[in-house]
Amino acid sequence: MQVYPMWLGYVILFGLSLILTFVASWAHRRFHIDTVDQLVAGGRSLPLGVASASICVSWIWTTTIMGSSEAGMWFGIGGGFNYGWGAAVPFLALIPIALIIRKRMPRATTFTEFIRQRYGAVVHKFFIIFASGVMIYVCMEQAVGAGYLFNTLFGIPFKVTAIVVPLVFTSYICLAGLRGSVFNDVFQFLALTLVMFVLIPLVLVALKPATMYQNLVDVVTNPNNPNHNPAALNFFNGAAWRYGIAAVVIALGQIILDQGYYQRAIGAVTRSTLKKAYLLGGLFAWLPIPFVMGCVFGLGALSLKLTPEVTTSISPYIASLAFNGGGLVFLLMVFMAAMTTGDTSMAGLQALFTVDVFKRSRPQATEKQQMRFGRLIVWPFGIAVAGIAMALEGVSLLYIDIVFGIIFAAPCAALLLGTLWKKPSETVAVISIVAGFVCGIVAWLLIPNKDINWFWGNVISLCLPLLLMVVLSPIFPSKFEFSQLKGYKGLIAINEEELVGEGEE
């Protein structure tokens, strides 16, 4: 289904890529990125608005825009909201973890440094592997999503977009690190919200809310309606709330194991800014986006009696009702969502490997050597992401999400409980991670019902480690005290001015 000419697709793909690279190049010149701390933590001086915009837009995935509209179509009026709260809860879980790490270890740059101090080398290695896996997966999923979209709308070969997208964000993270990521996020936040400010009222005018309601009543009451759903006008529809719970489980690992989100927390100018930025960017600005997309785009598709083969394609169609070229504007939104999410995780990989792998293994490395490593290490990851994304042509995004959800839920308990409770020991953490991972995968493979096996795989992978840690920790308690973290010296050199006020009550 090619909707627009191919040349237009190439103009958009390469034009936007050039703009984003230009923004990163400007950030590089303006902020003199000449230390590792500047490269990976933005000099720890991101102000409230910039941090909020970056946090909001880096959590807008391609699935936030298209998946929440789908949820509105599947579950009716409660679909978008349930998508939203389900994915927002893990964000709320990240705030205390980030605050605690920053308060107890002001010189830390990555959350895996905290894991090393808290549990020891074995659990640290587990987390390096899981965190790298999450970030590669996030980058790869954005490349796959963009590949499908450009292929559907412009007929551009999937593999071309799957290569270009990761290589573009890799190049600007190589150049400007966290600042390149954050300022591109801000630029894209402004563009994305402006587009939505205009597009949503126009779509509503085209759909007419009164007609929408009448058509939704038909969806509820008429069994011959192709989208007949008796619960479409029930906000407290049970299926929609179960979907919300599944979203919590799937999103938890994707957020709390992604160093990219900690980068913004570490980069915020003060701890109070960190807290406000996550509440403002996550709860106030991000949560209503899936809610409004589900209500307007999802219910719009239901009311128009659309019966697409793939429900993901409803959103560009509904956008095209607003005005000529509405579908094109929608594509810009999704492309920006893909780039901002991808660059967040690539910046996270850069920080994790520069600080917690390279500097830890070579304590004598000079600032220049660390900078060179930080700039080069993103390329193997960028190329690997492009290669994996190309190989996934034809694989469903939902399938990828579910499988990886099971894998990444397993270490969440060790991180969450290890931050809040001094009792869990290294042994208990390792047992819980391995048991959760193995049992989650086994449940997914052995439960024959394909409609619920993914759900139980995810739930077991998250809840079993929690249960094991709560039961085993009092039996095999750790001798760890949180006060041990106070003297942590950090791995990289940090300007003392950046640490003013840190670690205070």
Binding site: R30, G49, S52, L233, F235, T270, F284
Partner: protein
Amino acid sequence: MMSKTVFYIILGVALAWFYAGSIMVWRFVIPELYSLLIKRQDVDKKGILAKEKARRERRKK
């Protein structure tokens, strides 16, 4: 099944929340970008900390 009024209220809440949330972020971003890009001023961490401290003390009183 909800009435037309409740449907309008939910739609209205979703829209109002979206506009309010985004505009709140804009309200902070624009002055910061102006200061960083046009005036080329760096973020004053000590100033921000002093303001936060004063606010905390005011609250204690």
